[in-house]
Amino acid sequence: MSIDIETAARVAKLARIKVEQDQLPELAHAFNDILGFIEQLNEVDVDGVEPMVSVTPMRLKRREDAVTDGGMQDRILSNAPDAREGFFAVPKVVE
């Protein structure tokens, strides 16, 4: 699998990262390097090997169903560029 310039542009757009047109070839190249490395890993035969999902044998930590947080509207909104009547105010988004 190889990433062309068009795909690189698409990935950048999906990630909402602005990439100038003249930088796209380099980005595509970097992607291909990464994928090349993955290809190399794919050569290892892992048939019948359980995927390792964590390097430490830990159990997923659980929480009790209790309300222990929230009630801080002012702090939640404190970094918002614009907030009105307790809401975040953002440029109009309509489907």
Partner: protein, 504 residues
Amino acid sequence: MLDLTFETPKPKVIAGAKHDWELVIGMEVHAQVASRSKLFSGASTKFGAEPNSNVAFVDAAMPGMLPVINEYCIEQAVRTGLGLKAAINLTSAFDRKNYFYPDLPQGYQISQLYHPLVGEGEIIVDMEPGIARLVRVERIHVEQDAGKSIHDMDPHMSFVDLNRTGVALMEIVSRPDIRGPEEAAAYIAKLRQILRYLGTCDGNMQNGSMRADVNVSICLPGAYERYQETQDFSHLGTRCEIKNMNSMRFIQAAIEVEARRQIAIVEAGGKVDQETRLYDPDKNETRSMRSKEEAHDYRYFPCPDLLPLEIEQAWVDDIKASLPELPDEKKARFVTDFGLSDYDAGVLTAEVVNADFFEKVAAGAGDGKLAANWVINELFGRLKKEDHSIEDSPVSPEQLAGIIRLIKSDAISGKIAKDLFEIVYTEGGDPEKIVEERGMKQVTDTGAIETAVDEIIAANPAQVEKAQQNPKLAGWFVGQVMKATGGKANPKAVNEIVMSKLGL
């Protein structure tokens, strides 16, 4: 074993200009998990709070905040799975579904694409007595809800409230086994009923606790059967997904109008594009929702913040042991144990609170059928008139059972019982005492009835003559006697005495 056999309904057929067409429908229902706090944070899930007040830093995706799973939400999803007779996966895992929207501060939704918590189950969707559709559930996965955007408060801005952000949802995905708009509505209704019995979702569609995405495609008669035989989707038409509906009426309308749209395209020689559409109830049409096709590229990957979710079989078994009796079983038991009709049993088991109320009345009255009649016709009727739910019923099960016992022991007539019910409903009190104190007891003393009959016969010689020629007119005397005794005479006794006194 209870009898849960049923016949399969016929699929809905829509006549196009050239052919008859059938519908194939699959549903993805998002049900909000009934829990106090969110799936990955300790913020409250309470509906209707001040905007952005039920938000933890995790929900607002502040840098460095990590999700910690709410074990009760998992328990609720497992309970739901067991209630749908589904397989529970002891190992499941969370993935990130990546997209950008102002009400999704993380830039991704934590969901379960590759390893859902719950596997295949089923729902019996009742259509008519003895007729039901078995709809297979493909999976249930647990995920975060998004926040809420409000677009109509300002002409230039959208307002975002993150209170709902991070609330636990169960996405219940059906197989394409639903064959018409009515079945789709019935499917939602049945699922809602089961969730409410289980207590895992409040089922409040108006508040958005249950929302459905509906996949609709059309096919020629016979094609669906070939799909069922082979499970090969190529026998079916291209589907469109109608997003985010929370009204059963709109779901039905949307399916119908979407099917007709697809039929028109195909019959004109065109092709249906697989896409996401929105239903507009004002115009009664669906329209394409996302011009940006690439928005569908969610680039799922395992969430690095969360280890796989491992649960123990013993825990699942404990949850299973605590499951309540579910609607199908309860309804079948009401039919068998109390001799109720399928319809009455269905009405009484629609909500578990109604069923519990009825069972108390039936036990207290010692008569299931009479109890069912009184609960459905008198109590529900009266409650509905005042827009009350059973929880606010001024008549307790004990009081209603008391009224029914008085009918059964012939202490009061059916007509008086209705008056008595009204008194108990509006004033309260012990039915037996009320009957005693207000002299409502039925007169079964034949001597007293005879006297009353004699008086009326003596006062109406012309009527006597007529009745003797036409026995049907004897009813007039019965009515007069009932009137004279204030409705307290036993109608059967009156009838017999009138007939014998008139020599009929």
